[in-house]
Symmetry: C2
């Protein structure tokens, strides 16, 4: 570019002006260099980035501002350190959305599934048909994420009518990692018992069909909330159901759910597995 | 720089060679521009950064490669989904180091402390002196992070001799967030009982002094592992101690520990709080 400019100058200006031309060119090149450096430097040096540049290094970025808080909040939810929360903190809506849809939720599910399978592989399944696993349904087997997207990923308070209208359609997609896990447990000879707080009277048929259309075939039982358990906390309700299962002779080897209320109380099972869910809390 | 070069050239070369000089200068400037751009471009454009630049946005970086795996691994540890792990996965050493030292661990502690205090504030402490909290010691009250730094943040297997040599010095620093929590619980009138799997015979005095020199004053009791409990898992040992406390009449309102084995078993307390610890697992 600059070579072409030089030869063009030579033919157009008298020799006596070439010194002036050299100075002018020099100034323009100086300006150009400054512009190039300023255009690139801010992003490399002055920006608020604090990132490592190699995959596999320390966390790719130091969490800043509300993202650091949201990481703390979400971890506390998963570790059972926060209870009875009604909505996702408003500053964490995007964090929750990114977590659920950006790949990390899927990675987390895969690791948990590996843990479940490694554990299940170590169990000698008896011929008596009493080796059982208990699985929750909502956001464990099937996903309500599409519904919660319309509820700002949990920033909006729980809307019982809205949720029922969604669930009764029976179109919640399978959480594929858990579907594969379910299928493996059934193949291995475990009795898989699906235990849900969903109301049997209003959602019984829709839930039955939803599980069917998503491939959850071969479970031993699907147990829903009957009128006798109306208004009880999930911990109380599910503990009582599991007590009955144990009294029938089932050995609950594993208990998988997205809520700590699926995994607490009595007869929780030999091991529990918490599926991540930062969108809502069920007491 | 270039202006000075141009006037220097004018005085040193005959007019007939100035065209050649212009071309030479042009080439040198082109080379200089290319060098400047190449020096800066890789870091700004070709590096494996994937970072947002505004605080408060969606997670500041999409986790890549082993960092995504390590986030899953650490979350699974905190959610009690992985058990009996002997070492931190080798590819996660820097992740754990960054987590522990880069600020997120401190943020996580602060949020947990807020939860503890909000819960404790809602308890009407009785005059009978039987409202209690149980706290673990290692990596709950006092930190062994300096020791674990020398053990690659948990990538090295547990070294009983090495740990004892460290602990017997009695110089573990307080985890200041938990110290403040401890002090508040004592001020509120709770009986704070420190319960540790540390061996009383070898580490009794060192632990007593360490707590003292770090400001943990006013606890009701410090209970350590006596010979009768030698070789038992922490779940069994601590459950038995808590059983005895409950039989004495204590109401265990809260139970704080960095290991799930502090928080499981029998008489776990009305609420449990898991302090993050991705460095080691105590069965």
């Amino acid at each position: 570019m600059i070579g072409g400019l030089a030869s063009g100058l030579r033919s157009r200006f008298p020799i006596l002006d070439q010194a002036h031309v050299i100075r002018t060119m020099a100034h323009r090149v100086q300006e150009l260099l400054v512009l190039v450096v300023l255009a690139i430097f801010p992003k490399a040096i002055f920006g608020k980035l604090n990132c490592s540049s190699k995959a596999g290094d320390a966390p790719v970025a130091v969490a800043e501002g509300s993202n650091g808080y949201c990481l703390s909040w979400r971890l506390a939810v998963e570790a059972n350190n926060i209870r009875a929360w009604r909505t996702v903190p408003p500053q964490c809506q995007r964090h929750v959305e990114s977590y659920m849809t950006g790949g990390q939720y899927d990675r987390d599910l895969n690791l948990i599934a590996d843990q479940v399978m490694a554990y299940a592989d170590g169990i000698a399944v008896s011929d008596d048909g009493m080796d059982a696993w208990v699985l929750d349904i909502d956001d464990t087997c099937i996903s309500n994420m599409f519904y919660y997207k319309g509820k700002r990923y949990g920033c909006d308070p729980f809307d019982a009518t809205g949720f029922k209208a969604w669930a009764v359609q029976g179109e919640c997609p399978a959480i594929s990692t858990v579907l594969q896990l379910f299928q493996k447990l059934v193949e291995d000879g475990f009795k898989v018992i699906l235990l849900t707080g969903r109301d049997q009277e209003t959602l019984g048929l829709a839930t039955f069909n939803n599980l069917l259309n998503q491939g959850f075939l071969g479970y031993e039982r699907m147990i829903m909330r009957t009128p006798a358990y109306k208004g009880q906390s999930a911990i109380i309700f599910k503990s009582d159901i599991r007590r009955q299962l144990v009294e029938e002779g089932y050995r609950i080897w594993g208990n998988i759910g997205d809520q700590w209320s699926d995994l607490q109380g009595q007869f929780v099972g030999n091991r529990t597995f918490k599926i991540p869910n930062p969108m809502y809390f069920v007491p």
